[in-house]
């Protein structure tokens, strides 16, 4: 309910102030892109109605439309800090960058909807004819032109968003200038593009869907030029000097001037957008999206960059939303644009191409990381990372992907005001393809640091070299794969299920779907070694079970070479190869514990010896053996394949598909009818829930849910020692006393494990977490934390206690004699179930030193509850995640200091903070040179009186570089503009169909014939000829 990026909830405790602070990653379902060359920021709109501004790293502004509607277009008023957004409900919204307490915020100030046509009923009945297709803010910053489905062009003042009704240009007015033969009773179709003349703000180039392009003088309301195209128009662009135009068409061709160029001899898909950028080095850049030969590459998502003879077709794995080039905002008269970079937004990532370095390499983005380049399967946060480890990870990450481009990130507007993060936070994400990605989560922008792959250790079904890259040599056009979004895993068994990292010893455990547990160590040197393999049978000769799930992953034999980074030393393979459900690491004892749905094991990775294996299966539990997870996976695999097929066949971004096709119009009408009739009362069979306590033989009761190492009192109150704890799905807790030899004797003596206690929680709810609290009630420190002076030594004098969190309740038991001390029955009281728990230390608002240990709990309803520890008194609870957002709840991780992350989409982490003292949120400033303030009018709807008053005021704007086109008083600005370069003889725009003169039928025919002929000629020419030169025909 509350908009993301804003504070939610009201803190009830001074030290607790829950809010959602920032989103990390790539916005889900982006739908629009805009760039402000003056402020050097870009904006991305999403299907959920969010608008996000990005500048320099750390500069992020977020806004959310009140309506949950797709943002179809975004347009900056350059330098003004104003942003226009068009939603698919046909409303126009004005966003303003405003300054509050020194920081910039994005706020919606006004909205505007075109009124329905007079006589067509109420304005709210979605009139197709006034559906806005084109939005063009004029450079002067006082007007915005709206092209519509019906072919009319409306003018709306800025920033008041007032419709200038008498200025509207209806297609009839244009049609009067069009020869009868062209008119032939047909409408011009929707406005496809409006482009302001780059040097003369009063002239507009208007393109209609049918192919007609008009150069229209706004002040005189006269048509200056007509280009009678007969090919359906997709987009228009000026050459920067205003001497030439380029247009793109639905058949995959584009025209420069009025020449025709077709990119290939075969039927091609539409070129949805085209840009023309002049370049000092000579030949201009022509950049367009789409236009691929329909039959062979119709399914590719491409942006082609053409400069002279050089052509690169950037091949993306997802649909192209939009693109722009970055160049200096002010281009002097006769100068060149010299674009620095091309920024392409595709559905799943943002890619920047360095246009000034030969080979056009990509520039790594400092934000908008495609977290989901392979689906995230688990995540893990490591706080307070020691500098040494941090630098080593940075270094191996840099060696992994050497920068191809020396260019700095081109979008660098705004100033990051946030303080340098006080500590280094590392977020690890495990992925379906077996990779673990390391992210710098210290600050607002989540930066990729390092990527660890585990697939190369195994023999997988598919080889990893991409066939596309090899084939690229012979292909035309020359495809170049860009971006890293590849959601398809070759083998689902590679999926990473659990990660544990020791930040002091740089040891890591990565456990996967096929029961593989990899013990890894960070190495700064590359290495070639064999990975030793140990198999641990978790069934322990239990009879009557046969594993029907997937096979284990076969490890590759012999020595393998590993690049610098985390390198595996031991592979522990669980048998049966069910997915690993819990893992924990104790680097001081050289032990790793792991659990699956069948049992758990303990492994000494120093001696490479299994210490313990324990089956947790209930005798009646047969389902566990069927390998239900594997069945799910195989279903997933088949789904993946069918999705792949669907994606291939998907039509590349047809604009306004829903509005234009007749069948969808019928559907729309039907939907409206249905709405008017009111929602029909559907008598549904009510959902029933059976009230039955879980029994011992519930399926998957043996799943090991948590594992824990602690140095505590298990046998008696006098001696403490290493222990290991395991909790299962059926509410069982197993505690083992460990005999760990001292550091010096590791190689001589083996670790021994002795079962100390078995605890069966009578409510039998799954055990989510186990933690031991010291004599003062504080959680025990991590291994090495005390010996490295990073944590206080635990109190070993007072009696320890154990906090067991099940899905239903929290319970504190005494140790070594296990008896219940305190408990909180969450499910019995609230009806919610525990999903995630963590012991967090929250800094009190009063003093930084006073840390309070709390138990943070995320429930299945998406609420976060905070309890004191060990008294388990509820402190505060507030809603955090929608309860329907199951994947969001499942993905939540808490940090040690009261922050947390959860996925709000497959590609985005929302960061939240439970502590007012420890907040990571974007604080930035955009310097806005606004030529006028936003008048605080309550209503933005067109009102003639307000309009008349507003208009002279707009005229009085001192900064307006162009005289504003005054619709109210054209006589003030007689057609005094210089003829302009349009009419210059060397212009390729010179046109036989000047509307100022009489047009004869013959002339029209000639024109049509000439273009047809050119087309025909081109088709006859060979491919090679057509490719490099097909720009200028005339």
């Amino acid at each position: 309910p509350s908009p993301r990026g804003f504070r939610v909830g009201v803190p009830t405790l001074t030290c607790l102030s829950p809010w959602q602070t920032v989103e990390h990653g790539f916005p889900s379902q982006p739908s629009a892109l805009a760039y402000d060359p003056v402020l050097r920021v870009m904006a991305i709109g999403t299907k959920a109605g969010a608008v996000k501004l990005y500048g320099a790293p750390g500069v992020e502004l977020t806004g959310l439309h009140k309506e949950t509607a797709t943002v179809t277009q975004l347009h900056f008023l350059p330098g003004q800090g104003w942003l226009l957004s068009l939603l698919d409900d046909n409303t126009l919204h004005l966003w303003e960058v405003c300054q509050k307490e020194g920081c910039s915020h994005l706020e919606e100030t006004r909205s505007f909807g075109l009124p329905g046509r007079p006589g067509s009923g109420s304005a709210n009945c979605s009139p197709g004819i006034t559906r806005v297709t084109v939005v063009l803010p004029m450079a002067a910053g006082t007007l915005v032109c709206l092209g519509t489905e019906g072919g009319a062009v409306y003018f709306v003042t800025l920033p008041t968003l007032t419709l200038l009704e008498d200025k509207t240009l209806f297609p009839d007015e244009i049609l009067q200038s069009v020869p009868d033969e062209y008119r032939c009773g047909k409408a011009l179709g929707p406005v496809e593009s409006i482009q302001e003349h780059p040097r003369d703000g009063s002239r507009l180039l208007i393109g209609y869907s049918r192919g007609l392009v008009v150069l229209w003088e706004q002040s005189t309301r006269l048509v200056q030029h007509l280009f009678l195209g007969n090919q359906q128009l997709e987009s228009l662009a000026w050459e920067q000097s205003g001497k030439s135009i380029v247009s793109s068409h639905s058949d995959g061709g584009y025209m420069v001037g009025i020449g025709v160029s077709v990119s290939g001899p075969f039927p091609c898909k539409a070129i949805s957008k085209i840009l023309w950028r002049t370049c000092e080095s000579g030949t201009p850049f022509i950049i367009f999206s789409g236009g691929m030969p329909r039959a062979s590459y119709g399914d590719r998502h491409c942006v082609s960059v053409l400069q002279g003879q050089t052509l690169a077709t950037l091949d993306f794995t997802s649909r192209v939303i939009d693109f722009f080039t970055v160049q200096s905002a002010e281009v002097p008269e006769g100068g060149f644009e010299n674009p620095r970079a091309l920024v392409v937004l595709v559905e799943e990532e943002l890619v920047a191409i360095d246009l000034q370095t030969p080979g056009w390499p990509t520039i790594p983005a400092p934000y908008l990381a495609p977290l989901h380049s392979s689906a995230i399967t688990c995540s893990c946060h490591v706080s307070n990372v020691p500098l040494k480890l941090w630098e080593r990870i940075l270094s191996v990450g840099e060696q992994q992907s050497p920068r191809q481009s020396s260019a700095a990130w081109p979008i660098d507007g705004g100033k990051n005001l946030a303080q340098e993060p006080t500590q280094r936070g590392l977020l690890l994400t495990g992925h379906e393809d077996g990779t673990v990605r390391f992210w710098d989560a210290s600050g607002v922008s989540l930066k990729p640091l390092y990527k660890l792959g585990t697939a190369n250790i195994f023999q997988t079904d598919c080889e990893h070299n991409d066939s596309l890259n090899q084939a690229g040599e012979e292909e035309w056009p020359p495809f170049r794969k860009v971006g890293c979004f590849d959601p398809y895993s070759d083998d689902p068994r590679l999926g990473v299920q659990k990660i544990a990292l020791c930040k002091y010893t740089a040891k890591m455990v990565v456990a996967g779907t096929a029961g593989q547990v990899l013990v890894m160590e960070l190495s700064d040197e590359k290495s070639e070694h064999a990975v030793s393999v140990a198999t641990v049978d978790l069934l322990q000769d239990r009879e009557g079970f046969t594993w029907k799930g997937h096979d284990r992953l076969a490890p590759r034999n012999g020595p393998l070479s590993f690049p610098p980074g985390f390198q595996p030393s031991v592979l522990v393979q669980c048998v049966p190869p069910a997915a690993v459900t819990a893992v924990t690491l104790h680097s001081e004892w050289n032990l790793v514990a792991f659990g699956t749905s069948h049992g758990f094991g303990l492994f000494d990775y120093y001696r490479r010896n299994p210490v313990l294996a324990r089956c947790t299966l209930h005798p009646n539990d047969s389902l566990a053996m069927e390998g239900p997870l594997s069945r799910v996976k195989s279903l997933k695999k088949s789904l993946r394949q069918s999705f792949r097929r669907i994606r291939k066949s998907r039509v590349s971004g047809k604009k306004r598909l829903n509005a234009s096709s007749p069948s969808s119009k019928v559907q729309e009408a039907n939907a409206q009818l249905a709405e008017q009739a009111g929602p029909p009362e559907v008598e549904m069979t009510p959902v029933q829930r059976r009230i039955e306590p879980r029994s011992a033989d519930d399926s998957l009761s043996g799943v090991v849910r948590c594992l824990y190492f602690a140095d505590t009192f298990l046998r008696d109150a006098a001696h403490h020692g290493p222990t290991m704890w395991a909790g299962t799905n059926s509410g069982s807790v197993f505690a083992y006393a460990l005999e760990v030899p001292s550091q010096e004797k590791f190689s001589e003596r083996a670790v021994e494990a002795v079962l100390g206690k078995e605890i069966q929680l009578m409510h039998r709810a799954p055990v989510v977490s186990i933690a031991v609290l010291d004599g003062r009630g504080n959680p025990l420190p991590e291994p090495y934390e005390v010996s490295r002076d990073l944590a206080k030594a635990p109190d070993m004098q007072g009696s320890h206690s154990m906090l067991i969190s099940s899905e239903e309740q929290f319970k504190v038991f005494t140790l070594p004699k296990v008896s219940a001390k305190t408990k909180f029955k969450l499910t019995a009281h609230e009806g919610c179930r525990v999903r995630k728990v963590a012991l967090v230390s929250l800094a009190s608002a009063g003093s930084e030193e006073r840390l309070e240990n709390c138990l943070a709990c995320l429930t299945n309803l998406g609420d976060i509850h905070i309890f004191t520890v060990p008294s388990l008194r509820p402190q505060v609870h507030y809603s955090c995640i929608r309860k329907e957002d199951i994947s969001g709840i499942a993905s939540c991780v808490f940090t040690k200091h009261g922050q947390g992350f959860y996925l709000i989409s497959p590609s985005e982490f929302e960061r939240f903070s439970l502590s007012a003292r420890n907040v990571t949120e974007p604080l930035c400033r955009l310097e806005v040179a606004r030529s006028m303030a936003t008048p605080k009018l309550p209503q933005a709807n067109a009102c003639p009186m307000a309009l008349l008053q507003a208009w002279p005021w707009v005229l009085a704007v001192p900064n307006a570089s162009h005289p504003p086109c005054s619709p109210g008083s054209p006589e003030e600005h007689p057609a005094a503009f210089s003829p302009g370069p349009i009419d210059s003889p060397n212009s390729s725009m010179e046109n036989p169909l000047d509307t100022t003169g009489d047009i004869t039928v013959e002339e029209v025919k000639d024109f049509l014939a000439s273009s047809e002929e050119a087309e025909r000629n081109l088709r006859n020419t060979s491919e090679d000829e057509a490719r490099p030169t097909g720009i200028l025909i005339k």
Partner: protein, 368 residues
């Protein structure tokens, strides 16, 4: 004043007299009964027929006094062996209608208040009860279901629905949770206290208003070992009417006022206290391990696997045994109840249809 009594053992009858105004203490009365019947070595349960023909227990001074004072003039006293008593036979219409009691009197606070011996014999286990009758509105019913290791499923389903509430703005439809189905043979059905379409108002003292079906489901399951549901029965004709004397003109009346009036209210009715619920909760099972060292010297070592297998089986075995024991006792007690009920039902001599207005004054011996 005379009293007649029948002994269930072998249907033996005695008639003796008591001072109506100074009946003395229950203890003396109890000794007298044992003496008269020469059964001093037996544990017996004494009951009497009150004016409505309900069989009610005599086990303390209060209800003894009440029993004597209600005799007009004859008091019929029933004596049963302690181990044959079925408490569900006590209460409303238990003598007139040989039907399973709608209200079971019981008290599980026996441990804490041992001096009030109105309660269950020790080898019986409560299954369900109506509690908090004194504090709830008459339209509501608070039912406690006990499920101590019982094999029977709780056996009901709940669903979403709408209920009509009276609000300051008039009648308003609000979402509610309802019982949607009873599992035949389940605990819920066998109590007869819950029925399909009853609206669930509270679970263990926590209101369900504003909670989703899934939340209420989870609350009920989390409390399933001692589930207390407050319902608004769909059938409001069976409600307990507290204030007035029963009007029950028909034999169908299920009013239990009489039984309540016969005993001090506080002794009969249980009130729900949250801490009480906490205290009688089951404890988690902790099994101390043998603490013998366990080795896995090599991969797949036979010794290690067998060792851990032994360890692994110990807990489940013990649990299994506990469960079996519990189940046996549960089944036995159920069996007992059933036996008694059926014997009552089939025995024609039990058809003591006592006309309204009381027992015949001539004190005819009633043949059982």
């Amino acid at each position: 004043m005379g009293g007649s009594k029948s002994l269930f053992f072998g249907a033996e009858f005695r008639r003796f007299s008591l001072d109506r105004y100074k009946p003395g203490k229950f203890e003396d009365f109890y000794k007298l009964i044992l003496h008269i019947h020469h059964i001093a070595n037996l544990e017996v349960m004494i009951g009497y027929a009150d004016v409505h023909g309900d069989l009610l227990p005599i086990n303390n001074d209060d209800n003894f006094f009440k029993a004597v004072s209600s005799a007009h003039p004859l008091l019929r006293v029933f004596i049963q062996r302690q181990d044959e008593v079925d408490y569900s036979n006590f209460g409303t219409n238990t003598l007139s209608r040989k039907k399973k009691a709608l209200v079971t009197l019981r008290n599980d606070n026996l441990r804490r208040r041992p001096h009030i011996n109105i309660s269950m014999p020790h080898d019986f286990r409560p299954v369900s009860s109506i509690i908090d009758v004194d504090i709830l509105p008459e339209t509501h019913r608070r039912v406690r279901l006990y499920r101590h290791g019982c094999e029977k499923p709780l056996g009901f389903y709940i669903r979403d629905g709408t209920s009509v509430r009276v609000t300051p703005h008039g009648l308003e439809k609000v979402p509610g949770i309802f019982i949607s189905r009873m599992v035949p043979g389940g605990l819920a059905e066998s109590t007869g206290l819950l029925a399909v379409n009853d609206e669930v108002l509270e679970v263990n003292g926590i209101e369900v208003a504003g909670k989703t079906l899934d939340q209420v489901t989870d609350m009920m399951i989390a409390n399933s070992h001692n589930l207390i549901i407050t319902v608004k029965p769909a059938n409001q004709r069976n409600n307990i009417i507290r204030s007035s004397r029963m009007s029950g003109s028909s034999g169908q009346s299920t009013d239990s006022t009489a039984s309540h009036h016969s005993l001090p209210t506080s002794h009969v009715l249980q009130n729900f206290h949250p801490d009480e619920m906490e205290s009688d909760e089951e404890a988690d099972i902790v099994i101390e391990g043998g603490l013998e060292p366990q080795h896995i010297p090599k991969l797949h070592s036979i010794t290690s696997s067998s060792l851990s297998r032994i360890n692994g089986s110990s807990l489940s075995h013990r649990l299994q045994r506990d469960l079996v024991l519990n189940n046996n006792s549960g089944r036995e007690s159920n069996g007992n109840i059933h036996k008694l009920l059926s014997s009552l039902k089939t025995d024609p001599r039990h058809s003591l249809v006592i006309p309204r207005g009381g027992i015949e004054e001539d004190g005819t011996v009633i043949t059982l």
